[in-house]
């Protein structure tokens, strides 16, 4: 097998793995894996052809389902020696194509690493395998009045290993943080087959903070085999306020006003009218359908604390022009308020054969501008878009509705999405808040970063994975790709053709 070229290592061009010898790879893997853990016939590979970004499909060459860390070590050593790309996969719920298979690669599923190894309620931590579902952790520790705080919408299905790869957030991360704030230690295996531990059970670890580098690295630096998560005491009480507004900009301003009042809500979400109408039909959350936008603000803590905070929120919301303010009277009503928000994606699926979910994050004060721009993009691309936001942290999830069976609609939806992401960068934000770059937003990375910054990302990768075999072609665009895309960011925040209007 030929060595990897300098240009590939420097991130200038993508590697060519077409010379990988499938028979040889299968033969080597069959020596370290039992029959049920190795698949290479196309009918077995089909379920792995895509993740949550189903518009992109690619059959893997081989799928492996190891059950032990030793097997992971052996698999990676073989792939390293034979120069075969490796794509790690959890539940496959990712929305950016981070687990899209490589045509000449091994898809390494961690689905069988599904055990909670230990729970230590006194130290408030749990040791889990990467294939454990996010919600399963909270369920397992509920008896101790503890929970795992990050709660991505897909928490019923998504795995903690995938959460580590994407640095997943959720609706409560304004107050409780992202995956990076709630994971103490990650044990993993490098492409060379070495077992490494990032972070520690102590408050910090010596040297550079490799744990932070690995969290959100989209499977590009190491394969995770064990995760130690921090557990949080369950608040005694949570209550949710639903506020209606006759204008989206007023709703956006109310978000800023809540923060300005010194309140950090446990959750602060916004939905526009098309979104509330779409979900109301579906889950009957009781949302006011005449409102242009609604806010959901959650308070949690001791009963006294919650009562105090809710009163202050109500005051700020009313002063901000809310046409209606409702406070959840009991847990059932609180869950109903949230059910609507959490049903936004399935509701989009009912409205339209396909939808495309974006994930830009912008400074909160620019939300109004962004919404207006999205409205004009709806006209430009002749597609509908419904908007749900993690308003508290400026993370937007516009859902662009389209029908892939109508010629040209997928392309228009992708261009629509690309426009939103580029506007996010222009407004001082980022192309991805919590879903990851994967293959989906790889071109927009060219707009967000300069050539030296992209080159540095490749060097960081090489420090962990010198051979460049872990998830190649994802997350960081090659410099050649950016040159072709023609939108590499230039220093000083100036975009090419600043004279052109952008919507």
């Amino acid at each position: 097998m030929s060595a990897i070229s300098e240009a590939v290592l420097a991130g200038e061009q993508e590697g060519d793995y077409s010379a990988v010898d499938k028979a040889r790879v299968v033969e080597a893997l069959s020596r370290v894996l039992p029959a049920g853990s190795l698949m290479y016939e196309s009918e077995d590979l089909k379920p792995y052809e895509c993740d949550g970004l189903s518009a992109y499909r690619q059959m893997p060459m081989v799928v492996v389902l190891p059950t032990t860390e030793d097997q992971v070590v052996s698999i990676l050593k073989i792939c390293h020696e034979l120069q075969v790309p490796v794509v790690a996969r959890g539940a496959g719920t990712g929305l950016s194509g981070g687990a899209t298979p490589h045509a000449f690669g091994v898809l390494l599923s961690l689905a069988r690493f599904n055990r909670i190894l230990s729970v230590d309620p006194h130290s408030r931590l749990a040791v889990v395998q990467p294939g454990v579902r996010n919600l399963a952790i909270s369920e397992a520790v509920a008896v101790h009045e503890l929970y795992y705080a990050p709660d991505p919408s897909s928490q019923i299905a998504c795995t903690i290993g995938g959460n580590v790869a994407e640095n997943s957030g959720g609706v409560h991360c304004l107050k409780y943080g992202l995956t990076v704030h709630n994971v103490l230690k990650v044990r993993g295996v490098t492409i060379a087959g070495e077992i490494v531990e990032f972070g520690s059970l102590a408050p910090d670890a010596p040297g550079y903070d490799l744990l932070a580098a690995v969290i959100g690295s989209e499977g590009m630096l190491a394969v995770v085999t064990e995760v130690v998560v921090k557990l949080t005491p369950k608040p005694q009480l949570a209550q949710c306020v639903l506020a209606a507004f006759d204008d989206v900009v007023k709703a956006g301003d109310a978000v800023a006003a809540i923060i300005a009042a010194g309140i950090i809500p446990a959750g602060l979400e916004m939905m526009d009218q098309p979104a509330t109408v779409a979900v109301e039909d579906f889950v009957h959350a009781g949302y006011p359908l005449d409102a242009k936008a609604i806010l959901l603000c959650e308070s949690d803590g001791t009963p006294e604390e919650v009562a105090d905070e809710i009163a202050r929120m109500r005051q700020v919301l009313e002063a901000g022009g809310a046409t209606e303010v409702r406070v959840s009277r009991d847990e059932a009503e609180r869950m109903r308020f949230w059910a609507g928000r959490k049903a936004a994606f399935p509701a989009a699926g009912r409205l339209s054969p396909d939808y495309y979910c974006m994930d830009g994050t912008i400074p909160r004060k620019r939300v109004g501008e962004m919404l207006e721009a999205i409205q004009s993009m709806e006209r430009k691309y002749d597609l509908r878009c419904i908007n749900v936001f993690h308003a508290g942290d400026g993370n937007l999830h516009p859902l662009i509705l389209f029908d892939a069976n109508q010629p040209g609609e997928l392309e228009r939806a992708e261009e629509f999405g690309a426009d939103i992401l580029e506007l996010s960068v222009e407004l001082g934000g980022t192309v991805t808040g919590e879903h990851g770059v994967g293959i989906e937003k790889i071109n927009q990375m060219c707009s967000q970063f300069t050539r030296p910054e992209l080159a540095m990302f490749f060097r960081v990768k090489a420090a962990f994975d010198p051979a460049g075999l872990l998830n190649p072609g994802k997350a960081i665009p090659t410099l050649n790709r950016c040159a072709e895309y023609g939108r590499i960011r230039v220093s000083g925040g100036q975009l090419p053709h600043p004279e052109l209007p952008r919507f």
């Binding site: 309620p121 006194h122 130290s123 408030r124 101790h144 503890l146 994407e166 640095n167 943080g177 990076v180 704030h181 490494v196 520690s200 059970l201 102590a202 910090d204 010596p206 040297g207 550079y208 903070d209 490799l210 932070a212 580098a213 690295s217 590009m220 369950k234 608040p235 800023a256 006003a257 300005a260 010194g262 309140i263 950090i264 803590g301 001791t302 006294e304 604390e305 105090d308 994050t361 400074p363 909160r364 993690h390 942290d393 993370n395 001082g428 980022t430 991805t432 808040g433 919590e434 879903h435 937003k441 967000q448 300069t450 030296p452 910054e453 540095m456 990302f457 990768k461 090489a462 420090a463």
Partner: protein, 358 residues
């Protein structure tokens, strides 16, 4: 500011081509921390001041050379704060120094460390390129998290031009409680309370006395005071106590390095039992941070730290031949070296400050 940045870039390029080590330095208040390094002084205070601050966005962007006290005053003016409560260790402390050392204060266990609040950085790498990572928004997963890599890197990856930090509102009320407890009782109580929804924002145990600080809404603080018991410590005594712990002006730290004494910083799991080392201890962060003055050898201290699942830093004093930071496994050391090489191929930034060779 642009001229200063360009001058810095030119200076870095020149130093890299000549192989001249640069000693990146702010106010020098934390010079004692880490390995010693020689080199031409590179004073970050040339770039000072708040670049942008929007209280309702909970984000401040500030030049690395800005005095920490200046930033804290600006934030206090808007009822906000740096929730990681960074130690100053001297009047000259800068924001860049707080980020580069990665040191956090009493609120760390409740609120998070410096690294938990860094949203973005601009640095100059060893090629003289001005690089921007992260940004000014709360959630950002575009590219590897280089901003957090820079936290605690002690300047070895390059000078910090500016940094964006998440800030939080100051708590409406704080109250401190005092308990008479031995070490084992204190560690047990802190972990037990840690599993309950209590607004504990700091803890410090020394010499049979446990101090606990509560922060939050008045109603929450009041109910916790009732629930926990103990003796209420009034202000200004309480406030000055927490400052003395953060700034290491507490009697425990006095003359800790006289007569060849060493002050060790042991980070361990919060519920770790007695260290099994002779000497005097001050315990913070719910049991996770143990300051130790001991005559025990470095080998013995580090062996115990590892056995307990943590690591030991030679924080102040001691022999320069003893590495400041706990040695890493060969696989981790190799990754760290390669990262250093990625940012600073000529090895000019603070060589030796973190580990031997870098």
């Amino acid at each position: 500011m642009k001229e200063v940045i360009e001058r810095w870039q030119a200076r870095v390029r020149q130093a890299a081509s000549a192989g001249t080590p640069l000693r990146i330095q702010g106010g020098g208040s934390k010079d004692f921390y880490g390995g010693s390094c020689a080199g031409e002084s590179f004073d970050t205070r040339e770039l000072s001041g708040v670049v942008s601050y929007e209280p309702t966005e909970l984000v401040v962007t500030v030049h690395g050379g800005t005095p920490l006290v200046e930033l804290e005053n600006v934030l206090a003016g808007q009822g906000q704060m740096l929730a990681f409560e960074p130690p100053h260790f001297g009047p000259g402390a800068t924001v860049g120094g707080a980020v580069a050392t990665g040191l956090s204060g009493p609120r760390r266990l409740a609120a998070g460390a410096v690294r938990d609040f860094v949203l973005g950085v601009r640095i100059i790498d060893g090629r003289g390129d001005l690089l921007s990572f992260g940004g000014q928004v709360m959630k950002n997963v575009a590219g590897y998290d280089v901003s957090r890599l820079v936290c605690g890197s002690l300047g070895t990856l390059g000078p910090i031009v500016d940094v964006s930090l998440k800030v939080l509102p100051r708590p409406a009320l704080e109250a401190s409680l005092r308990f008479a407890m031995n070490e084992a009782e204190a560690v047990e109580a802190l972990n037990r309370w840690g599993g309950q929804p209590l607004p504990i924002s700091a803890s410090a145990w020394h010499g049979g006395v446990l101090m606990v600080r509560l922060s939050g809404a008045p109603a929450a603080v009041a109910s916790a005071v009732t629930r926990l018991g103990g003796e209420t410590v009034p202000d200004p005594e309480a406030t000055s106590f927490w400052i003395s712990v953060r700034e290491q002006q507490h009697a425990f730290f006095a003359d800790s390095t006289e007569n060849g004494g060493v002050l060790w910083r042991l980070a361990v799991p919060t519920a770790a039992p007695w260290l099994g080392l002779d000497g005097d201890q001050l315990i913070e962060w719910g049991g996770g941070l143990r300051w130790l003055r001991t005559a025990a050898s470095a080998e013995r201290v580090r062996e115990r730290a590892i056995a307990l699942g943590g690591h030991a830093t030679r924080f102040r004093g001691g022999e320069a031949s003893v590495p400041a930071f706990q040695p890493l496994s060969p696989a981790l050391m190799q990754i760290q070296r390669q990262l250093k090489q990625a940012f600073d191929p000529a090895g000019i930034f603070n060589p030796g400050r973190l580990y031997n060779g870098f």
